[in-house]
């Protein structure tokens, strides 16, 4: 029983780590989007 509980807990932790990676991916995408819009704003001003 202990091993099943351990296996399920480890599976949840792995899945949680994946969600965390997704969160980091979103941050990176947002940073790129901000950089792009700032870039296009500068081009318009020039």
């Amino acid at each position: 029983m202990f091993y099943l509980a351990l296996a399920v807990s480890v599976a949840w932790l792995v899945y949680f780590a994946y969600l965390f990676a997704l969160d980091l991916q979103i941050k990176d995408l947002r940073r790129r989007l901000d950089a792009r819009s700032a870039d296009s704003r500068n081009n318009t001003n020039d």
């Binding site: 949840w12 997704l22 989007l33």
Partner: protein, 218 residues
């Protein structure tokens, strides 16, 4: 905000797992001696079934919403819920196979409940293959919305299969103690919040990617 929700979900998951395998442990009957571990898989199996059903429901609602007003956000939520449905139907079918092997003998057998659950998995896969195969955004969203509505037809079949047809799969889950009920409720809640978080994150990624692509090509 999202990070906080993620940690609350993790705490819920670990608490429900701990409760389910300690005070909420389901003890097998006299003729099921030696299968305690497999019996307690139901704490993952049944919540996964509920969760995948709800993911398909979200897919249905967002598909209808997309066809009605063509807002891309509904397409992104639908795609994310199909991905979540794939994850949880995989867990559902795998844990079901272990249960079947221990209690009935074969790993899998074509009874109505098992068959409709397997079809659910194939439908989630088919949706994602269809999505990956079409380049045009509008055309893809429209076609996937139609497929999402058709795919939902299998969900009521899963529900009624063990209730209205002869099937070795039990129709309902019953608990002997209050702790078992609490553990089960908490398992359902934690897996649902996990799926909701997944859908939220994937929707955000799909939307940001689409925005980035639009900016690059505009």
């Amino acid at each position: 905000m999202r990070r906080l929700l993620m940690f609350i979900t993790l705490a819920l998951l670990l608490t429900s797992t701990w409760l389910a395998f300690t005070v909420g442990e389901v003890v097998p009957s006299e003729d099921e001696k030696g299968v305690t571990v497999e019996k307690n898989i139901l704490y993952v199996h049944v919540p996964s079934a509920i969760c995948s059903t709800l993911c398909f429901l979200v897919l249905l609602l967002t598909s209808i919403a997309y066809l009605v007003n063509s807002k891309p956000i509904f397409d992104y939520i639908g795609a994310a819920s199909a991905e979540a449905a794939l994850v949880f139907t995989t867990v559902l079918n795998l844990t079901g196979c272990i249960f079947s092997r221990v209690f009935w003998g074969p790993w899998w057998t074509p009874t109505p409940r098992l068959l409709t659950s397997a079809i659910l998995w194939f439908l989630a896969v088919a949706y994602l293959i269809l999505r990956a195969g079409i380049q045009n955004q509008r055309h893809r969203a429209r076609l996937c919305a139609v497929f999402g509505i058709i795919a939902f037809i299998d969900v009521p079949m899963v529900f009624i299969s063990a209730r209205m047809m002869r099937d070795m799969h039990p129709a309902n889950v019953g608990f002997d103690t209050a702790w078992q009920g609490v553990s089960f409720g908490l398992s359902v809640l934690s897996i649902l919040s996990l799926a909701a978080l997944f859908i939220w994150l994937r929707t955000d990624i799909l939307r940001s990617r689409a925005q980035l692509e639009n900016e690059m090509y505009s």
